[in-house]
Amino acid sequence: MRVEQIAVFLENKSGRLAEITAILADNGINIRALSVADTADFGILRLIVDKVELAKTVLKENGFTVGKTNVLAVEVPDRTGGLATVLKSIEEAGLNVEYMYAFVNKTGENAVLIFRFEEMDKAIASLQQGGFTLLSGEQICAL
C-alpha cells in the first residue's frame, strides 16, 4: 500500500524546476503529483511519477541529488470536510505527519492525499482500520 515518491534537492535558483520537468518530459515520464517545500536557502521537490526508476536515473544523470521514499496515498471524496475526516482520524491515532500534499483526480470525484508519516506501518494499519482507501502506485498512475 506504499507509494514510491522521488525527492529532488533544489537550490533556490531560477530555472531549476523548469529544467527538471523538461528532463522528465523528454524521457516520457508523467508527473502525477508534486509539491515543493522550501526554506530561504534550499528546496525539496517531491514527485509522484509513473516511471519511478527511470525518473530517478535520468535526474541523477543530469546531476541532481535524488532520493526515494515511501508515502501513503489516501483517497477521499472531493467534498467539504474530506481532508478533515482523515486528519481527525490521524490525530486520534497519535500519528505524526512529516508532510503532506494533495491533488484532485481527473474525474474530479475524488481527492488524493499524499502523506509521509514518521511511523508508516502504524499509519497504514490505523488508516485501513478507519475505513479509508489507500491507493497503490499503479492505482495513482491509472487515475
Binding site: 534537492f9 537550490e11 531549476r16 517531491r46 546531476g63 541529488t65 508532510y99 509521509r116
Partner: protein, 436 residues
C-alpha cells in the same frame, strides 16, 4: 615624555655584538635541545648534525626545519624540554586536523615574554601611566594574556576587556580613559563603526595609539583605522609556536616594518620550495629559531608566513632587523576574525558528521569590517532527505561543530551537487573575496 626604549642597550646594539649574543645562545640551545628532546635528536642524527657542528650563525642552515606537523605528532607535550613540573602555563592554537598545537612556558619564559611585550609596547610609545585596553581574546590563544603580562610588566594599567561586547568596550574607553588599544585591526574598525552609531566622537576619547595584529592588514587599513579612531596604528607580529605576541614590533617613529626581537628570536627567510636561505631583502617564508625559551624552544620553525627582512638602519635607532608586514601564506590557512582556520579542519568536521568526504567550499567575505565565513556543502545522496527538518538540522549541526572546533561562527549553505567549481578536477576549496 615617552621613553623610547625598554632595553636600550640591546635594542641599539651594533650588529656584531648582537650576532655574538645570538651565536652564544644558539649553541647553548642546540646542545640543550639535542640532549633533552628525542624528536629533535632523531632529526639531527638523521641529518648527520651534532651540536658541536654549530660554530657560526650560518651553521644554523645545517639544522633540519621544524614544522607544525612535528608539534602535532608530539601532541601534547612531546617537544617540551623541561619536566612538566617546571611548566607554569600552556597555550594552544588551532591545529590543522582538529588537534590543537600546544606550547608551554616556564616561570622564566613568562618573564621573558612579559619583558618582550613591554619592549613592544614601549616601541609603540606606551609607558607607565597608560591605560591599556586589551581587546585581544583571553584564553588558550596567546594574544590576551601575552599582551596583558607585558602591559603589567611595563607598569601600565591593564583593562583586560578581551573580545566582544563592543558597546561596553566603548563605554569603558570613555569612562576609564583608555589610551592604548590592542586588538585585531578589523575589530578596531568595528569599534569605530560602533562609536559612530553610538554618537561617540573618537576625538573625545583619550586613545592615542593602537597596536594591531593577529590578522593580515594593509596600509589602506592602517590609514582608515588612524583616521576613523584618531590614533596612530602600529603593527605587531607573533605566533604561539614562537612565543605569542611580541616576536616583532613596529616602532611608532617609523611605522615601516616590524623590528624582530633578534636577541630572542633568530629569523631567516627561505625559499619555501627548496628550503634555501634567501639573501637579505628577498621575499620568502619566515622561519624562526627561539634563542632563549626554556620549556618550548623551536629550531627553524616554518611559520608559513610570507615576508621579507631588511637591514637598513631605522630612524628610531634600533639596530634590530625589520620584517615586512606579512603579505601571504605558503599554505591555505585563512585568518577569520583573528582565528586561524585551515580548510582541512572544516573537512574534518564534515567527514566526522557523515562518514563520507563531502564536497565543500569556504567563501570568505568582509562585510563592513568583519569577516564572514560561509561553508557550502554539496548535498549528496547519503545526506539528502525528503524532509526539510532533517536538512536544516544537518546544516545547524555542521555550524555548531565548526564553532566548537574553531571558535568561529559561520553560515552553512547546502548546495546542489557539482555546483562547487572544480579546476583541473580539484575542487577550489576557498574563495576569499576580502579586499584587505
Amino acid at each position: 615624555m615617552t621613553t623610547l626604549f625598554w632595553e636600550e642597550e640591546i635594542e641599539t646594539l651594533p650588529r656584531v655584538g648582537l650576532e655574538s649574543i645570538q651565536l652564544r645562545r644558539l649553541k647553548h640551545l642546540v646542545t640543550r635541545v639535542y640532549a633533552t628532546v628525542e624528536p629533535y635528536r632523531r632529526k639531527m642524527d638523521a641529518a648527520g648534525i651534532k651540536p658541536g657542528d654549530i660554530q657560526t650563525l650560518a651553521d644554523l642552515q645545517k639544522l633540519p626545519f621544524t614544522y607544525k606537523d612535528d608539534l602535532r605528532d608530539n601532541y601534547p607535550f612531546g617537544l617540551f624540554t623541561v619536566p612538566l613540573d617546571d611548566v607554569v602555563r600552556v597555550h594552544a592554537s588551532s591545529g590543522t586536523t582538529g588537534k590543537p598545537t600546544v606550547v608551554g612556558y616556564t616561570k622564566k619564559d613568562i618573564e621573558t615574554w612579559a619583558g618582550l611585550m613591554a619592549r613592544a609596547l614601549t616601541c609603540a610609545g606606551a609607558h607607565r601611566g597608560d591605560m591599556v585596553h586589551n581587546a585581544y581574546g583571553y584564553g588558550l590563544f596567546t594574544g590576551g594574556l601575552g599582551a596583558h603580562y607585558g602591559a603589567e610588566c611595563l607598569g601600565a594599567t591593564v583593562i583586560p576587556v578581551s573580545g566582544g561586547n563592543t558597546k561596553r568596550q566603548i563605554t569603558i574607553m570613555q569612562d576609564f580613559g583608555s589610551t592604548v588599544l590592542l586588538s585585531t585591526p578589523s575589530y578596531a574598525l568595528n569599534l569605530a563603526e560602533a562609536m559612530d552609531a553610538m554618537g561617540v566622537d573618537p576625538a573625545s576619547l583619550s586613545l592615542r595609539v593602537g597596536i594591531f595584529g593577529a590578522e593580515p592588514w594593509s596600509e589602506n587599513m592602517r590609514e582608515e583605522v588612524e583616521k576613523k579612531l584618531n590614533i596612530k596604528a602600529v603593527d605587531i607580529y607573533g605566533l604561539s609556536e614562537v612565543i605569542g605576541p611580541g616576536v616583532a614590533m613596529e616602532c611608532l617613529q617609523t611605522r615601516g616594518g616590524m623590528h624582530v626581537f633578534e636577541d630572542h628570536f633568530l629569523p631567516e627567510i627561505i625559499d619555501p620550495d627548496t628550503g634555501e636561505v634567501l639573501p637579505p631583502g628577498e621575499k620568502g617564508e619566515l622561519v624562526f629559531t627561539t634563542l632563549t625559551k626554556e620549556a618550548f624552544p623551536v629550531i627553524r620553525y616554518r611559520t608559513k608566513d610570507i615576508s621579507r627582512l631588511f637591514y637598513e638602519p631605522c630612524p628610531c635607532g634600533r639596530t634590530l632587523v625589520r620584517m615586512e608586514k606579512v603579505t601571504g601564506r605558503t599554505d591555505d590557512m585563512l585568518i577569520i576574525r583573528g582565528v586561524n582556520v585551515f580548510p582541512s579542519q572544516i573537512e574534518h568536521v564534515l567527514v566526522g558528521i557523515e562518514g563520507v568526504e563531502p564536497h565543500y567550499q569556504i567563501v570568505v567575505e568582509r562585510e563592513g569590517n568583519l569577516d564572514t565565513m560561509q561553508v557550502r556543502v554539496e548535498v549528496s545522496e547519503e545526506i539528502f532527505s525528503d524532509e526539510i527538518r532533517v536538512l536544516e538540522n544537518l546544516a545547524k549541526r555542521i555550524k555548531i561543530e565548526i564553532k566548537d572546533l574553531l571558535g568561529v561562527t559561520c553560515s552553512v549553505k547546502l548546495v546542489e551537487p557539482k555546483t562547487i567549481q572544480r579546476s583541473e578536477g580539484k575542487a577550489q576549496r576557498v574563495i576569499d573575496n576580502r579586499k584587505i
